[in-house]
Every structure is written in structure tokens, then in C-alpha cells.
Amino acid sequence: GGQQEEGTGDDYKLVLKLSHVFSPAEQLTKSMDLVAERILERTNGAIEIQTFPQAQLPAYKEGVEQVVRGADFISVEDPSFIGDYVPDFKALYAPMMYRSFDEYVELTQRPIVEEMKAKAEEQGIKILALDYIYGFRNLITKKVITTPADLNGMKIRTPGSKSYIDTLTAMGANATPLPWGETLSAVQQGVVDGLEGSEFTNLGTKVYEGPTKNVANTRHILGTCGVYISTEVWDRIPEEYRSIVQEEFTKGADEMVSLLKSQHGDVVKELESYGVMFNEVDGDAFRKALAPLYKEQDGMTPGIFDSIFAELDSMR
């Protein structure tokens, strides 16, 4: 790396580039800008985090790759991408694991996840946060869905990622990966019968204006972002600044989760006023259908799923 000068004291300066895929209007973008601003202020300009929304810089797997390769870079991504390096993360983000945001937040603070973070550090990934939560993804369809059988033969749009496709397929749907840019017209024109996404997406992108008026509260995927920095870069930062950076990213996540909780009720009400109907689903039937995805994969810690379920049961 180049833009930093080694040493402590007043002349220390590090420029980090923070990249994510969210648009300027979304809460995650605002949160990241705020965190960057606070860190700049509290370190008296020593740690400058430049934020780049909308994948202007490498994002998704390429963002994590920058971190792994030791770039002066902060990647803010879905934690399932860490699964390429520490397979246990794939288990943590298996579908329908969590029934509330609190369950997940609490789990990330327990030793089981702390151990996973330590494994990530061995791969060069320092995890600064895992809980920039932006909502559960639910099914948004033309007809009411309560069981996996209801999804039979329905084309549901997913992002072009294997985990989403596998999830929707296991749930009983015909997973149809489409770029987001083509999704709304595909729903309008009947190329697909529905999509999946959070209530914030539903409202923000006006999905409710189309023919898909039913939302089944499957909570099948937890939408969350983690914050990652290279361990190499992290170790070079003076201790005093490290604690400030860590504190501010933790604080930013806490604030985003409380904001999310307070806003979600209003968003649901607003959607209902536009004629959107919400329904609960037969969770056990879906979890049964998803059982094949709770199977251990290569490289996972033996019994990882049982351990996670045991932790979650202890909270319920």
C-alpha cells in the first residue's frame, strides 16, 4: 500500500476506500457516509475513509478480493461472500435461520461467531461488523403463498447468485435469475410471476404498482452487510485509531438496526395503503423443504448447523 505514512503521532495519515453496491438514497449509504465522517473527525483527519457507493469501485466478490489481497480498502458486502474463504459463513447465512433481527444480532456476539471471525482473520479478513441489517427478504407475488406447494411452477426472480437460486428452488419455485434493471418490466410483462425482496425495496422501487400485491412473510433471507478490512492494513493502524474505527462501525450498525426496526412498521402500513396484503406462512413446512440446504459442505466445521440451531433455540 502507498498512501499512508508509517509511524505514530500527528503525521499519521491513512486513506481507505470503502466500496459497496447500495444507491445514494439507501440507508446503508447514509450510514457509511456518517461513520466515515465521524472517524475522520475523531482521528483528527488521520483516518480518511472515502466512500464509493453503487459499485463504482470493486464490489461483491471483487471487493472482498481487494481486502484479502491487502489493499487499502474496506469492503461492505453480504457476509455470505466470506463463505468462499471460511465455509462456516455459508451456514450462518443459510435460508430461514432467523425469526427476528434481534436473534441474529445476539448470535453474532456469541463465541460461535467469534470463532468464525477468528478464522476469517487467518485468511486476511478482519471483520469490523456483521450486522448492518437492511431487512428480511420476503416473497412478493401475484397470488397468496403459504406453503412450498403454492410456489410450484411459479417463476420467481432472484439475483444471479447460487445461494439465492438454491434457496428459491428448494422452497419450490422456478428460480429465474435476472439483473435488477430488467426485473420490474419482467414482473409487469409476466416474464416472471414474482420476486423476492424486503418491504423497503418494495416501497422504494415501487414494486407495489405492479401486479404482485401479495407479500408472504417467509423471512427466507436476512439482508445484512458486513464490514471487512485487510488484517495486514489493520495491524499497521496505530492502536488508538483502531479502537476509534471499531467503535464507530459498531455504533453505526446499532443505529441502523434501531432505525430499521422503527421504520419497518410504517413501511408496512404505507404498503398496505397501496393495496399490498401481507400473510404469514407455514414456517415448518418451508424449513422442511429447505432441509437439504442445512447439510454440511466441504470445509465446514463438523456439526456447525446443529451448533447454530442450538444457540438459536437457547434464545427462543
Partner: protein, 166 residues
Amino acid sequence: MNLLKKFTQNFEVVFSGFFLLITVSVVIVNVILRYLFHSGLFWVEEVATTAFIWSVFVGAAAAYKYKMHIGIDIITKLFPEKVREIISIIINFMMIIINSYICYLSTLFIQANKLKRTPVLDIPALYVNLAITVGFGLMTIHAIRFLVIEIRLFTNRESQKEETEA
């Protein structure tokens, strides 16, 4: 030797064309399946784009071989022929540096992150990234060939001139 030459002459176009046809076919088949059976193939997008990447990088080498890449010669045309020939030699030399450097970087790129996998098919990213190595490797070879030919032409002409002057 001749047979080998003939094969390498058409290899890039055949290879690139093969991948282009894969791209076109999987997209067509996907539309037909979705229309007839209401169910598309989830892997089409990644297969189509991966085949396309191979087609483009190897195709770029084919296009380079026949000097099909667009450049602006409006300024260089103003110079006398001898200067133009020298510029052309310098450019070929730079093309060798650029292409071989990319080829070298691609080997680092592939080695450094063996754990990365593609998003849909979940296969090693190597199968995609190797297209860069192959494409720019071939272009390096062509650039070297062009350089040798041009230097030979240039020096031949110079010595001819000297002979006629003498």
C-alpha cells in the same frame, strides 16, 4: 510446419467462433424453454457471459493479427514515411510490453486467489480468468511477430538505399 501454421492461423477464429455460438445458442434455448415449459435454466446467464469472455479475448487476438483494432492515424500520417516506419516499430514494441505485462499480471491474479469461485456455477474463477492469459498471450506473440517483420523490412530498405547510393 505449414500445417501448424495453417492451424494457428485459423485457431483463434475457430476457437472464438465456437464460444460465440455457445453464447448465442444457450440464450436462444433458454428463451424457448421458458416460453414452452415455463421454466428457464438458471445457469444460462453465467455460461453465456463466460463463453462470451473467451470469445472476446481470443477474438481480440484474431482481430489484432489482422490489424482490425481501430486507431487514429491522422497525426502520424503527417510525417514522412521513414519517421512513420519508426513510429510503427515503437508502437509494436509498446504493444509487446502492454500485452506481455497483462499476461504476466493475469498469472499473478490467478495464483493469488485460488479460493474465489464464480457466483452461479460455483466453479473456480480460474476457468474464467484464464481467458485473459490466453488472449493477451496470443497478442504478445503477434506483436513480437509484427516487430520482427517491420524491423527486417526497415533494415532491408535502409541497406538497399545505401547500395543504390553507393
